[in-house]
């Protein structure tokens, strides 16, 4: 898809969302002073105008290249490409990792996360686990022992 058009549409939608969110905030206070929604509303208007201009220039580009819309086939090809698949997979694993932290605790979850990401992306198990253990040990020493940061513990330990 045309980058300008995509940016324009997204900006316009974000603008609409903020426009809706501003409706419950006072715009003008006493003595006609600007209220809490004055500045965000001003920004929203700028965002929507910029979005509309980009949409228009994107549409002009579509017309110039005589492409009505990107074909479904091309979009599917893009989604199936290795680069997109690798990035999406990484996001999904990271989401699972963050969800698991409060249950398994930071140390175990991080070790499993580092090891599994390596294995999924082609590192051998024999190499992945030692790297994971060493990395977590380093983080543990740096943050928990030296800097005394309290990182999440396994949920079961909290009940013990």
């Amino acid at each position: 898809m045309n980058k300008d058009f995509a940016t324009g549409v997204s900006s316009f939608i974000i603008g609409l969302i903020f426009l809706y969110l501003c409706k419950d905030l006072p715009l003008i206070m006493e003595k006609h002073y600007p209220g809490p929604s004055f500045f965000p509303l001003l920004l929203t208007v700028i965002l929507m105008i910029s979005g509309a201009i980009l949409m228009y220039s994107g549409l002009k580009e579509f017309k110039r290249l005589k492409v009505a819309t990107p074909s479904l086939k091309r979009i599917i090809e893009l989604i199936k490409s290795d680069e997109v698949r690798n990035a999406v997979l990484f996001i999904v694993i990271t989401i699972i990792y963050i969800i698991a932290i409060p249950y398994l605790g930071f140390t175990i979850t991080s070790m499993l996360y580092i090891a599994f990401v390596q294995i999924i992306y082609g590192v051998s198990i024999l190499r992945a686990f030692p790297v994971a253990i060493a990395s977590v040990l380093f983080i543990y020493i740096l943050f928990i022992v030296v800097l005394r940061v309290v990182l999440p513990e396994p949920i079961l330990r909290r009940f013990a």
Partner: protein, 492 residues
């Protein structure tokens, strides 16, 4: 009166020097890895600085940045891939030179980087306090225009299209507007969440916007690694004498240009390197060698990019307007320690600030040692594959985001902003503009609204003071640049 001895005593504390050294090793590693930038390294380093005194923390950031920018030249010389954007200008020349003498090219690069950084540091030390004294005359109107100028520069310089830069800035402002509103204390866009009441936490946002898009890019080609062998017998400083003798004026000029460009809000080390490279080519006796392995080209851009780092701290410390994205993050770290950048910082904490400025000198002195180490170790660093590196850095991102407030909410925030940042980059919205707006958002809004209130809603107040009017002209001139450029292009 600045207490130089007191500042020297502060910076010479063993734990500060040790922290500088450790930070340089970290910078060396990040800078040498193609794709990992100094900005990302700073975002990862900042959560650590929370647990240190401000001087140690800020010194670490300064030192890490100096080495990372130099280390970015290593893959440029060895692989023709700039390690950081600041190394892009010299990549072709450095690579061609490096094919014949890789270690000697890196050695010359290192010495010129350190000299550039040293000159930039001296300018920072002398200019910043004088400028801070002048800045005490500024009121909310001047600060409003100054912030707007910084944002305008960031938009005009970094965006492929200025309109996308505007969108980036507005998005940053809107992110910054979440939480308690700065004038009336009214909760805004919080959806009833207690975590959002205090606004979007700066550090998780920085880590998300800078590190996550980088990791996503790296993991999309997970098996890529670089294999390089360097000759152990080659002398690192073989070309230095020749470079210093032939190009001493080029180094000096590039360092001055670099510091000046670095001091412009929004223009960082990468632009400084390109401009200095361009000037060197135009004034060179052998311009035909540029692009084919010109030592002059390498020397010019490497002295400029390291000098720009110090330059970027001038507006950051004096006005609270960061010169580049690294200083933007560092400002967040300063504020987290309760130190508000601005002219009063120089009055209230003069010894501490002087010690921070001295950290630049020490960072550049240490650079000669750690840089030499990095030249020798570079082949090992470049051999680490991405599929091992990415999950480790991702874990650091999670810990860093969590450690700021001990909250998993911040980790989610980091991930969401990171994914958003990835898409923003894909469509050409410059991330530094978004970040700059997140930092300057509350400042711009507060000064804008209070100025309007003080003047009983009279907009003329924005240009009624001479400095304010001058800054307003500067903003207008900055916005005129892309239009003039487009018109000139059309004429050609």
């Amino acid at each position: 009166m600045v207490d130089l001895l007191g500042a020297l005593q502060l910076i010479l504390q063993p734990h500060v020097l040790f922290a500088i050294f450790i930070a340089e090793l970290f910078g060396l590693f990040i800078g040498a890895m193609p794709g990992l930038t100094a900005t990302m390294a700073t975002a990862l380093l900042v959560p650590l600085t929370y647990f240190m005194d401000p001087l140690t923390g800020i010194s670490m950031i300064i030192a890490m940045e100096a080495v990372a920018i130099f280390a970015g030249d290593i893959p440029a010389v060895l692989l023709r891939i700039p390690g950081t954007p600041a190394s892009a200008a010299q990549t072709i020349d450095a690579y061609h030179l490096g094919r014949r003498k890789p270690v000697a090219t890196l050695g010359t690069d290192l010495v010129c980087s350190a000299i550039g950084g040293f000159i930039g540091s001296l300018i920072l030390i002398f200019v910043a306090p004088a400028l801070a004294e002048f800045a005490t005359n500024f009121s909310s109107v001047e600060y409003f225009w100054l912030a707007l100028w910084g944002l305008s520069m960031a938009i005009v310089i970094s965006a492929e299209k200025p309109l996308k830069g505007v969108i980036g800035v507005v998005i940053g402002f809107l992110i910054a507007s979440i939480g308690i509103e700065p004038v009336y204390g009214y909760p805004r866009f919080t959806f009833g969440s207690i975590e959002l009441l205090k606004g979007v936490s700066f550090i998780p946002a920085m880590i998300g916007l800078f590190a996550i898009p980088e990791l996503l890019r790296q993991i999309s080609r997970p098996r890529e690694k670089y294999i390089i062998r360097l000759s152990i017998t080659e002398k690192a400083f073989e070309l230095v004498k020749q470079a210093l003798r032939k190009f001493k004026l080029v180094i000096l000029r590039s360092a001055l240009v670099g510091t000046f460009i670095g001091a412009l809000p929004g223009a960082g080390a990468d632009i400084a390197a390109w401009v200095s490279y361009g000037i060197a080519k135009r004034t060179s006796k052998k311009p035909e060698e540029f692009g084919k392995g010109s030592l002059e080209g390498v020397v010019a851009s490497t002295s400029a990019n390291n000098a720009a780092l110090s330059g970027a701290w001038i507006p950051a410390l004096v006005f609270g307007i960061p010169g580049d994205s690294v200083t933007a993050i560092a400002l967040g770290a300063l504020m987290a320690h309760g130190l508000r950048p601005g002219p009063t910082l120089f009055e209230k904490y003069s010894t501490l600030v002087t010690a921070m400025l001295m950290a630049f000198i020490f960072a550049n002195a240490f650079l000669l040692f750690t840089g030499y180490l990095s030249v020798r170790l570079s082949s090992n660093i470049l051999r680490i594959p991405r599929n091992i590196l990415v999950p480790i850095i991702a874990t650091f991102c999670v810990v860093g985001a969590y450690a700021v407030n001990n909250s998993l909410f911040d980790v989610w925030l980091m991930l969401i902003l990171g994914i958003a940042g990835f898409f923003m980059e894909k469509v050409g919205i410059p991330i530094p503009s978004v970040v700059l707006a997140i930092i300057l958002g509350p400042l711009v809004e507060f000064n804008f609204i209070t100025t309007l209130m003080k003047s009983e809603m009279n907009p003329v107040v924005f240009v009624s003071r001479p400095i304010a009017a001058g800054l307003a002209v500067l903003v207008a001139a900055t916005w005129a640049i892309p239009f003039i450029r487009a018109k000139m292009r059309r004429k050609k």
